[in-house]
């Protein structure tokens, strides 16, 4: 049963769709959405920070003033950690036709480099919308306020692209971006990954992921959690993620039905 809770439905056919009608309707609307079939997402990832950030983006562009979004999100994810949409994100968003967020494919226990205080991240960019070019990409990682540290203490966060992983020698890395952070800082750190994402798109075999390294003020590698970085085993709504903005570079023709 569905509630007739909004006047918009007042003149709509007041009856349940029959199964056949529903299937027809679903097929037609999926073709409008440009989807070959209806997705079946894993339940557990719904708590990630990415959906919250994307919901913020959605509400930024939704025409109505009342923020959208399922009650699911209003109850499940606390809003205080919802990643804030920066003015830069809004500019990217204005120019984009599609935005995608990607979850980190490396689980904490798979992260073999964990002992050496290096965190590894991998994102699957193979399922991106056809005929769209990347206009911007950001790697986002949450930093908590660190209580037990001297608030004037600083750390350096470096993000590297993995260039080569030779079997018997050191990994070859390219420094992409770095950021000085205070122990007392809190919020999302944003690293520009536009060039790297475009490279991974054109040469998927070069997509070997990212390494994140934290150094203290003496240049010593330290455990990223020491600076409050949520690198993978923190609460789900602070999971690091990649967000990519796309612009359609051709008119998408619907598949023949």
């Amino acid at each position: 049963n569905f509630s007739v809770d909004s006047e918009v439905r007042s003149s709509f056919i007041q009856r349940r769709l029959r199964n056949q009608e529903r299937r027809e309707m679903q097929r037609e609307i999926l073709s409008i959405l440009g989807l070959p079939h209806r997705p079946r997402p894993h339940l557990h990832t719904k708590h990630n920070a990415a959906p919250m950030f994307m919901l913020d983006l959605y509400n930024t562009i939704s025409t109505d003033t009342e923020p959208h979004g399922y009650s699911y999100y209003k109850t499940v994810l606390p809003t205080q950690t919802s990643s804030v949409v920066t003015p830069q994100d809004s500019r990217f968003l204005d120019d984009a036709d599609t935005v995608m967020s990607f979850v980190n494919l490396i689980d904490r226990d798979q992260d073999l480099l964990f002992q050496q205080h290096t965190r590894e991240f991998r994102f699957d960019l193979s399922r991106i919308p056809e005929g769209e070019a990347i206009t911007a990409a950001e790697f986002r990682i949450y930093k908590d306020f660190i209580q037990e540290r001297n608030e004037n203490e600083t750390f350096r966060v470096r993000v590297y692209q993995v260039l080569r992983e030779p079997p018997n020698s050191e990994v070859e890395l390219l420094l992409l971006d770095q950021r000085e952070v205070w122990a007392s800082e809190e919020g999302w750190l944003v690293f520009d990954l536009t060039t790297t994402s475009n490279l991974w798109l054109v040469n998927p075999e070069q997509n070997l992921g990212l390494h994140l390294v934290l150094e203290d003020s003496n240049g010593q590698k330290r455990n990223p959690q020491m600076a409050g970085l949520a690198t993978g085993n923190g609460p789900q709504d602070k999971q690091p993620f990649l967000v990519v903005f796309f612009k359609a570079n051709e008119v998408r023709l619907r598949s023949v039905r």
């Binding site: 569905f2 909004s6 918009v8 439905r9 007042s10 003149s11 709509f12 349940r16 769709l17 529903r22 309707m25 679903q26 609307i29 409008i32 959405l33 440009g34 209806r38 997705p39 079946r40 997402p41 894993h42 990832t45 719904k46 990630n48 990415a50 959906p51 994307m54 919901l55 983006l57 959605y58 562009i61 939704s62 959208h68 979004g69 399922y70 699911y72 999100y73 984009a96 036709d97 599609t98 935005v99 995608m100 967020s101 990607f102 979850v103 699957d124 399922r127 919308p129």
Partner: protein, 141 residues
């Protein structure tokens, strides 16, 4: 003038239909067919993702008001009906030659887009802008 269909001689001797005849014809047709005399305008139509059972993968919105256009484009086109100049001429010619020239059609004159936020199979999240999904205004074309 609108030429008759191929093969049929336009019968010059036939008295030119007067506008009055046409008016009578239209009134008769309307009464018989019970066609609503309502002019071309926008009507409500709501597409509910929830009713399609998609709330497990579409995060927002729960659906959207798509609307549709319906109503007569009959001469004289009222001021509230957006009409192209061509449509005005066509309604008049339809009057005079209803078998030859159809009425103009009632269709969207302005369409707006919507954005949809949803999960893909890999549980990545996609925010996509779709153009021309909502009727903003209807008119006679």
């Amino acid at each position: 003038s609108a030429h008759g269909h191929k093969g049929r001689q336009s019968n010059r001797s036939k008295p030119q239909r007067t506008v009055q005849d046409a008016l009578k014809a239209v009134e008769a047709a309307t009464e018989n067919l019970g066609i609503s005399k309502e002019g071309c305008k926008k009507h409500e139509l709501y597409v509910s993702f929830r009713d399609l059972g998609w709330q497990d993968w579409i995060i927002a919105p729960e659906g959207y008001a798509a609307y549709y256009c319906e109503g007569e484009c009959a001469f004289p086109l009222n001021s509230y009906m957006n009409a192209t100049n061509h449509a005005i001429v066509q309604t008049l010619v339809h009057f005079i030659n209803p078998e030859t020239v159809p009425k103009p059609c009632c269709a969207p004159t302005q369409l707006h887009g919507i954005s949809v936020l949803y999960f893909d199979d890999g549980s990545n999240v996609i925010l996509k802008k779709y153009r021309n999904m909502v009727v903003r205004a209807c008119g006679c074309h």
